[in-house]
Symmetry: C2
Subunit: 134 residues, 2 copies
DNA sequence: ATTGCATTTGCAACTATTTGCATTATAATG
DNA sequence: CATTATAATGCAAATAGTTGCAAATGCAAT
């Protein structure tokens, strides 16, 4: 794979923002530095970065998927379907499960960013105000 | 939730087909019985069915997500990124992991259909012919 | 049957994502 | 340095999926 300028800028961008960004947000930020860049170029660069394991892509239940840099250790997320809160959990909470599955099914897991939907502690009691359903 | 005719037909369709269908496939099949039905109606009915837990929606790594009826027991899938083979695993292989996470994070998991990507046994050795990359 | 209300539907517009193809840029090789 | 191969990009068109709004429908209580 060639060193693509767009890929580099995406990595720098995701590294700086340190958050989950949609392809649109990535596109907007990149345009400030490369005004002529095409949106499909951004999509394709993001796809390459995901394929090479540098970036994760997740459907958080919003209408657009989000991208995140995977440099500082693997992690996963729990997403509350009521209040939309996103909790981050470390890979150590997932490691053993993955290991078991790999052994039992002779399958080498590549997935590196798990998104699990559910109801957070706060929303499990009936008293929360933020009841925006999914 | 009211008994929607489209929802009923979707359930019958998914029940008969017993497979992962894209929204387009569901749409085509439903059109045979309700020729005037609109595609957005199908999307919305599918969304309602997913929200109510009757149907699962999964991104299998193809360009369109797929839907599956969840009547006969929970299950999950391992998808090979090389040969695209889909393996099905029972919920019992996932149960303990989910239970642990729920306890540790005080989070009630709703996700009922896990998709994990990786490399199947066959494709782990270098000798397979079907090397269509993701 | 009629009314009132909430849900579902159709439609059209809009956002999100993918893809084919021609062109350009970079790297590799002679 | 010139040539060739490969990967990246732009553009436009196509496919996926979402949403606002108004109209239609189903359900429940008269």
């Amino acid at each position: 794979m060639r060193a693509s300028s767009v890929e580099q800028i995406i990595i720098e961008t995701l590294s700086k923002e340190h958050a989950h960004l949609t392809s649109q947000q990535v596109f907007e930020i990149i345009r400030k530095r490369l005004p002529a860049v095409n949106q499909s170029t951004v999509y394709r660069a993001l796809t390459r970065l995901v394929d090479s394991g540098k970036v994760s892509v997740s459907d958080m239940g919003t209408k657009a998927v989000v991208y995140e840099l995977l440099t500082d250790g693997l992690h996963h997320h729990l997403v509350c379907q009521k209040c939309r809160q996103i909790m981050t959990i470390g890979h150590e909470e997932v490691e053993d499960f993955f290991g078991d599955l790999q052994l039992k099914n002779h399958f080498q897991i590549v997935t590196n960013h798990l998104i699990l939907f559910g109801i957070c502690e706060n929303c499990q009691v009936g008293t929360n105000t933020n009841t925006e359903e999914m």
